[in-house]
């Protein structure tokens, strides 16, 4: 019928108008890029869990993109109920804007980071350049693919891991800076995101080694690994936290506060931790971590706080205008 389209439009409009009633059982999780597959599995598990414990049918929508871009979208009005990011600075940004609670980090255990990751290397099959640790990356003739730290959490953690490992080995800040400057001289491509770096390394054959999140390294290794690339575990690396927060602005309006909290709480449950582990995201639960020791090879880790205060401070001194990262390229070459 001719009016069929119009009718459904009216119905849709009515649904939107009554949306608040419906939306109470509906969550929007705004998250970062490579967590897509993880949250797909997690949502299925959570929906079943909620139905079983509360007897309520719910729906969870997910939105993925660059962590900072997603934070920007939420601050500008995207009605997320919860945010799950890969850098704490993105949640802090929302806290400054009053979108999430100021004390968001205290609302859930482990500084509101139910999972973590770390930075590992991926090298070409058989490791032709013999790359075993950080010091091998600054040898002449070695090409390192990393993400631009100004563009994404992935790049920021790679940079901070490289800086911090020099400190971990007893070096001063000046030593760390010298290391970093040699490292970035060996970088042929500053990728714009984790997946972009992977594509350059894997599909375009750029570089000898890729520095990226453990979850990415493991998933590449699973998908393409046989005969193409090998993961390398350096002697020490950084702990990258995956912070989560309830978006107070939205849940107050929609009345989803309880559901949103339950959603994030479940991340800490054995089941939630188990799903994270299956996606190579490090669980906080020691038991689950041990169970998957085959994925999560033991690696000595340090926190961002240990050498940089916080990610926010690191951002200012290292990645801001005229920070250490800019200086790598603007200072006259010696």
């Amino acid at each position: 019928m001719k009016f069929g389209g119009f009718k459904s439009l009216v119905v849709a409009a009515a649904l939107v108008a009554s949306g608040s009633a419906l939306a109470q059982n509906q969550l929007l999780n705004v998250s970062y890029d490579v967590a897509r597959e993880f949250y797909k599995d997690y949502n299925t598990a959570f929906i079943a869990h909620y139905k079983k414990t509360k007897g309520v049918d719910i729906k969870v929508d997910q939105s993925h993109g660059g962590s900072s871009a997603q934070a920007r979208a939420v601050s500008e009005g995207l009605a997320a109920d919860v945010v799950t990011f890969n850098t704490t600075t993105d949640v802090e940004f929302l806290a400054e804007k009053g979108v999430v609670a100021k004390d968001w980090a205290k609302k859930f255990p482990n500084d509101a980071s139910p999972t973590t990751s770390t930075m590992l290397f991926l090298v070409r099959n058989g490791n032709p350049k013999g790359i075993k640790d950080w010091d091998d990356l600054i040898k002449p003739g070695v090409q390192v693919v990393v993400v631009n730290p100004k563009l994404g959490g992935n790049g920021r953690y790679a940079y901070l891991a490289a800086w911090g490992q020099a400190r971990e080995k007893g070096g001063s800040d000046a030593d760390a800076q010298a290391y970093i400057s040699k490292l970035y001289k060996n970088v042929p491509v500053l990728a714009k995101g984790g997946r972009d770096a992977t594509a350059a390394f894997l599909q375009r054959n750029v570089g000898d080694v890729l520095i990226t999140f453990e979850s990415e390294v493991v998933s590449i290794d699973r998908e393409f690994g046989k005969g193409k690339v090998d993961p390398v575990y350096p002697s020490v690396s950084i702990t990258a936290e995956n912070p989560v927060a309830v978006v107070e602005r939205t849940v107050e309006k929609k009345g989803t506060a309880e559901l949103a909290k339950a959603y994030l709480d479940f991340l800490y449950s054995d089941e939630g931790q188990e799903i994270a582990a299956s996606h190579a995201i490090r669980p906080r639960s020691e038991a689950v971590l041990k169970k998957h020791a085959d994925i999560f090879k033991p690696i000595k880790q340090f926190t961002v706080g240990k050498y940089f205060g916080s990610l926010g401070e690191a951002q200012k001194t290292h990645f801001g205008d005229g920070g250490y990262f800019d200086k790598l390229f603007t200072e006259p070459k010696k």
């Binding site: 801001g320 005229g322 390229f329």
Partner: protein, 290 residues
């Protein structure tokens, strides 16, 4: 320019003076509407850009826009755009010429191909170009043994900008060439002009303004291009970062005011350049029309 084209153009002002009836309602209404529409579509969004930069003090503004990395990025952006637009000027004209003057099987397809860069998402262009030009790509592998790298450097940027700018020159020159009377060429030939003289003295002045327009549009398009370039460039500061990339990096660090400050600089430079090209164009029109 040929007399056939300039004659009616000269007739118009006299018709105006007599207050001839126009198809659309009067000048006041149409101009009012034009300004209103432009305000909503162009001026207001650009004004918000300006307001955002007001968050910065003059000193902060100046430090941001004159930072070495930003300055290097302007150079890369405008330099690569200029080279790409010049290449498009020459080869776009050639393509337009072939499409107008010759018939050959598959001409319709070639004609449609020219528009592809208009329609293609630029990220797709970037991905295809890297696949083609990378050291393990179809074309790239021919150059790699010679030590020539076609992507992940400034060369890659120029390639991407040539690609996205191509249709502009072709599509502006094509209709003018179609209108151009072949008799003039023959007349020039019969008066003893060499082929080069015919081209230089007869054809080029006729298509000159269209060429300049196409060049300006290809250039302007290239200056704002982001999607394809980030894939083909290695985005190293001071070396191969384009300005839109610097803006994106600032946004990623939640530095809105800084990002809009750099955007303002681009806006001003682009506007001045386009104004210059417009001026050049009208000067040429006058010269060739006289």
């Amino acid at each position: 320019m040929s007399a056939a084209i300039t004659a009616p153009a000269k007739a118009v002002p006299s018709a105006k003076r007599r207050g001839a009836k126009r198809v659309l309602p009067g000048f006041g209404l149409t101009l009012g509407y034009t300004i209103f529409y432009l305000s909503i579509i162009v001026l207001i969004p650009l004004a918000t850009l300006l307001f955002k930069t007001f968050e910065l003090t003059w000193d902060q503004f100046w430090t941001t826009i004159s930072a070495p990395i930003a300055v290097a990025a302007y150079k890369v952006t405008f330099g690569a755009s200029l080279i790409a637009a010049l290449v498009n000027l020459v080869f776009g004209m050639l393509i337009a010429w072939v499409l107008v003057r010759y018939t050959f099987p598959g001409k319709k397809i070639v004609d449609a191909l020219v528009d592809l860069p208009f329609a293609l998402p630029t990220a797709v262009a970037g991905i295809s170009l890297t696949a083609l030009l990378a050291d393990n790509g179809w074309i790239g592998q021919l150059f790699a043994p010679l030590g020539i790298q076609l992507v992940f450097n400034r060369v890659g940027i120029v390639f991407a900008l040539i690609f996205i700018g191509l249709p502009f020159v072709v599509r502006t020159v094509q209709p003018v060439l179609e209108d151009f009377e072949r008799e003039l060429e023959e007349a020039a030939g019969s008066l003893g002009a060499s082929r080069w003289q015919t081209f230089y003295k007869v054809i080029l002045p006729a298509i000159g303004p269209a060429l300049l327009t196409g060049f300006a549009m290809a250039f302007a398009r290239a200056v704002g291009e982001y999607g394809s370039v980030i894939f083909v460039s290695n985005n190293i500061p001071m070396e191969s970062q384009i300005t839109p990339f610097v803006i994106m990096a600032k946004l990623e660090l939640h530095d809105y005011a800084g990002a809009t400050a750099i955007a303002m600089v681009m806006l001003v430079i682009s506007f001045v350049l386009l104004l210059l090209i417009n001026g050049l164009q009208s000067w040429q029109r006058k010269r060739s029309g006289a």
